[in-house]
């Protein structure tokens, strides 16, 4: 396993974790842009643009792009989050050049008006799909409430109104503000031929224009509110809670992730024994997620409407207990064992490493081997988790409930 790195003259960074024994190559362009870089008027433009990128370039029609991605047997896709738009493909090593050619070409999209109107309908269907499936937008509503007034409050998909009103010209203007060569990283993992990768990338991306694409990464002031959205047609109640947590650049994020595992992993955690094993909830879990400048503990609860109030109290009591007494040594060991085993299993696929290596690089500007990541978790001590609990109390949170319950109160 060898890490290689090169920066082109226009600032485009190329990084690779090369493993000559791997069966495949994962190739991705990480663009440091997402919903937090939008304005309310153009909410959803990052994600819509991600779709439009597959709709063709001056050299290729949309059908050409889809056909060629399939011709190289690639398992390709893209996603947009608050902070990243990532275009990726996993291919056999013999197709590395073609994958780089295709992915780099589509990153200079034409944004043709007729394609734009058809794809807008797909986006509106995607918005409708998520509004109609559990947790019925509770997570987005919770982000909006928790980070009210801050760019992280914005929904990645946008709204029917904001997406409906977007024009190709507005999208092109956004593209020209964000898709700078200096704001994009080409990431490759697995059986990579790095020298060829650099040669191909220079040829395909060397002319991309560099410019500043700044982002405000100061820690936002978060809220602590309770919102209830009444949805009679839902059989279950769905609740999302957000509490502040360490940011992407904070070293205590490892302790935070261990804490989330102890409290709310989907097996063997305190919430598992209290709520799942007992059948009181269908789903109850906590995860720690980091952004630049801030982070969150996100808790999910799905249960029968009549049990929601009682379950919220139980979660609150579990959080209070943790804030008072922390985690035990045995819990710490168990959580580390789970996390480290998961890292090994995930790391075996080149495409999984692509996401880890890419995220590490764009969030923190550094590469870490799988062993280094494991060691960071192994090193966490009980008192570091107590420090996280003191700094980021879980009981101070924003709660959004969607379902048949019309009336819920904050647990005390």
């Amino acid at each position: 396993m060898e890490f290689r790195q090169k920066t082109l003259d226009n600032g485009l960074e190329i990084i690779a974790e090369c493993n000559p024994n791997a069966y495949s190559v994962g190739i991705a362009f990480f663009v440091k842009t997402g919903s937090r870089d939008e304005t309310d008027q153009f909410s959803g433009v990052s994600h819509f643009l991600e779709h439009m990128v597959f709709k063709g370039t001056p050299q290729r029609t949309a059908a050409d792009v889809n056909r060629e991605l399939d011709e190289i047997g690639s398992h390709s896709n893209a996603y947009t989050s608050e902070e990243q738009t990532v275009y990726y493909g996993a291919v056999l090593p013999e197709y590395q050049d073609r994958a780089v050619d295709l992915l780099s070409d589509i990153l200079r999209p034409s944004l043709r008006a007729d394609d734009f109107e058809v794809e807008k309908k797909v986006i509106l269907e995607e918005i409708a799909k998520y509004e109609n499936q559990p947790p019925f937008g509770a997570n987005e509503k919770c982000m909006a409430a928790h980070f009210r007034g801050h760019s992280l409050a914005r929904n990645v998909l946008g709204s029917i109104e904001s997406v409906g009103a977007l024009t190709p010209e507005q999208m092109m203007a956004y593209f020209q503000q964000r898709y700078s060569s200096r704001n994009i990283v080409l990431v490759a993992t697995g059986n990579v031929d790095f020298d060829r990768l650099v040669t191909e990338a220079s040829r395909r991306c060397g002319h991309w224009e560099p410019f500043e694409a700044p982002r405000d990464t100061s820690r936002p002031a978060s809220q602590s509110v309770l919102e209830i959205v009444h949805k009679e047609s839902s059989a279950q109640e769905y609740v999302v809670q957000l509490a502040d947590g360490p940011a992407a650049e904070d070293t205590d994020r490892h302790a935070a992730r261990i804490l989330a595992t102890v409290l709310g992993d989907d097996t063997g955690s305190r919430m598992f024994w209290n709520l799942i094993d007992t059948g009181l909830a269908e789903y109850a879990a906590v995860g720690a997620y980091e952004f630049q400048g801030t982070g969150v503990f996100m808790s999910f609860l799905g249960c029968a409407p009549e049990r929601t109030q009682e379950n919220l109290q139980r979660i609150h009591d579990l959080e209070l207990e943790l804030e008072s007494n922390g985690v035990t040594g045995a819990e710490l060991v168990q959580a580390k064992n789970k996390i480290c085993s998961h890292l090994v299993l995930q790391g075996e696929r080149a495409s999984n490493r692509m996401f880890s290596v890419g995220s590490d690089w764009i969030q923190r500007g550094r590469y870490r081997t799988l062993t280094e990541v494991r060691e960071a978790y192994e090193a966490v001590e009980v008192d570091e988790i107590e420090a996280v609990l003191a700094k980021y109390p879980l009981t101070v949170n924003t709660t959004v409930a969607v379902g048949p319950c019309g009336d819920l109160t904050r647990p005390t």
């Binding site: 791997a22 069966y23 495949s24 597959f54 059908a63 792009v65 889809n66 056909r67 991605l69 399939d70 011709e71 047997g73 690639s74 398992h75 390709s76 996993a90 291919v91 056999l92 058809v118 794809e119 309908k121 797909v122 509106l124 269907e125 995607e126 409708a128 799909k129 509004e131 109609n132 499936q133 559990p134 047609s233 839902s234 059989a235 279950q236 097996t267 063997g268 598992f272 024994w273 094993d277 007992t278 059948g279 009181l280 909830a281 269908e282 799905g302 249960c303 029968a304 060991v333 168990q334 064992n337 789970k338 480290c340 085993s341 998961h342 090994v344 299993l345 075996e348 696929r349 495409s351």
Partner: protein, 427 residues
């Protein structure tokens, strides 16, 4: 120790039959750090009595609440400390348990799972908790509308009991008592037709000896025959207050063991594999009718079908259904060289990438054994893909044109059925 028959299929694939009817299949992947297993017990939901629909699922919940020397808490803690990422599922035919972990943990993990299927405690004091878990599953499935539609499609396509959903019905799960679960486990958690697969970084001689010592003396009991009813087919609409309509379509196809399976699989691949596939192109890319659309092959041992799904806003549902059905029928006119070439590239790269995942290989070789009573090497599957031609697939499609569609819709209003939808039992 029970006498055993060992067979080496390929250099890195091993199979072994215990005298009690249990089969072990293993694949050595020494470039990995992990090992994964799949344990398929012939305790699927098709063995639930009609008035106890959900019993297999309830039993699966209860066997995971303590076994052998471990109570329910110790069971979970030990597996967590071994770092076993695990799953437990009930399908029509099997209750299956799976685990993936760092290679040297496999011995302890298998010993725990041996206790789970041979010596479960089925603790009475946790019975009501287990029931609540199962009832919650049924309730939350009500909110998952795509799943609800596809469950109804399966139910109408395969009939009782092979088309039923594993979680059963609320009234049945309410009625299940402790002795029902005890009897189900005694009758169905047994070695006859049980399959254990292991893939990854294994030491076969040591693993083989370990498995023999765990399961060699397990005694079989005769499995009861399953009573079948005629499927319903036809069209069924469910009213639901939703801005989207969900639609599911199915039609009969050949099962996995059939000589023509890869012809059928190829045809469905042209429909739905990849971004240049016909459904994605015609329904989503050209018309923007939906976000999700797909078709896939589903197989039991002796029958199979193709299932298709899409979800779209109410006023575009009719067009979506019409375009989907038109594309299904157009398959009979044949596929083109470029379509097949792309499909082969995709399938082949997926096959090669399977070698990066012990969990993926473990479940594949277990399924192979169930369907074919042998394990196919990746080379063998690759050769089957190589020999596919437009002529062979088109010949298959001429003989087996998609038709007699079963359709289920869920949304604000029912749809007009295009020609070709089965009219049997349209209720």
């Amino acid at each position: 120790m029970s006498p055993v028959k060992e067979q080496i299929v390929a250099e890195n694939i091993f199979t072994e039959h215990l005298d009690n009817g249990m089969t072990i299949v293993a694949e050595s992947m020494d470039w990995l750090e992990s090992v994964a297993f799949s344990l398929l017990v012939p305790a699927g939901c098709s063995r639930d009595a009609h008035h106890l629909a959900g019993l297999a699922n309830f039993s699966c919940e209860m066997v995971q609440r303590g076994c052998g020397s471990r109570d329910s808490r110790q069971f979970i803690e030990d597996l967590d400390n071994l770092g076993v990422e695990r799953s437990a599922n009930v399908s029509t035919v099997h209750t299956s348990f799976g685990g993936a972990m760092v290679a040297d943990k496999i011995y302890e993990a298998l010993a725990i799972y041996c206790d789970l299927i041979r010596r479960p405690h089925l603790p009475e004091d946790q019975f009501e908790d287990g029931r609540l878990v199962c009832l919650q599953e049924i309730q939350s499935a009500e909110d998952d509308l795509p799943q609800k539609v596809m469950q109804e499609v399966r139910r109408r396509q395969y009939g009782e009991p092979f088309g039923r959903p594993a979680h059963g019905r609320l009234d049945c799960v309410q009625a299940i008592n402790g002795s029902d679960v005890q009897a189900f486990v005694t009758e169905n958690y047994q070695p006859q037709d049980c399959i254990l697969s292991v893939a990854g970084k294994i030491d076969w001689p040591r693993l083989r000896e370990h498995i023999q010592s765990l399961w060699g003396d397990w005694q079989p009991v005769p499995l009861a025959a399953i009573q079948e009813q005629t499927p319903l087919y036809g069209y069924r609409h469910f009213n639901h207050d939703s801005t989207q309509t969900h639609l599911g379509i199915s039609y009969s196809s050949v099962p996995y063991p059939d000589d023509d399976y890869y012809q059928a699989r190829g045809a469905v691949g042209v429909l739905s594999d990849g971004m240049s596939s016909r459904l994605f192109t015609e329904v989503r890319e050209n018309r923007g009718l939906c976000y999700t659309v797909f078709a896939s092959c589903h197989s039991l041992r002796n029958r199979g079908c193709v299932v298709c799904y899409s979800g779209t806003t109410t006023d575009r549902a009719q067009e979506t259904l019409d375009v989907m059905v038109a594309e299904l029928k157009r398959l009979a006119d044949g596929i083109e060289v470029g379509e097949l070439r792309r499909l082969k590239a995709r399938i082949k790269s997926a096959l090669i990438m399977q070698q990066e995942s012990s969990a993926s290989r473990s479940s594949s070789i277990a399924a192979d054994w169930y369907f074919l009573q042998r394990v196919q090497t990746l080379d063998e599957i690759s050769q089957k893909i190589d020999v596919l031609s437009c002529e062979s697939i088109n010949e298959y499609l001429r003989k087996n044109p998609p038709g007699d569609f079963t359709v289920v819709t869920l949304g604000e209003q029912p749809l007009e059925m295009p020609v070709g939808v089965s009219t049997e039992n349209a209720r």
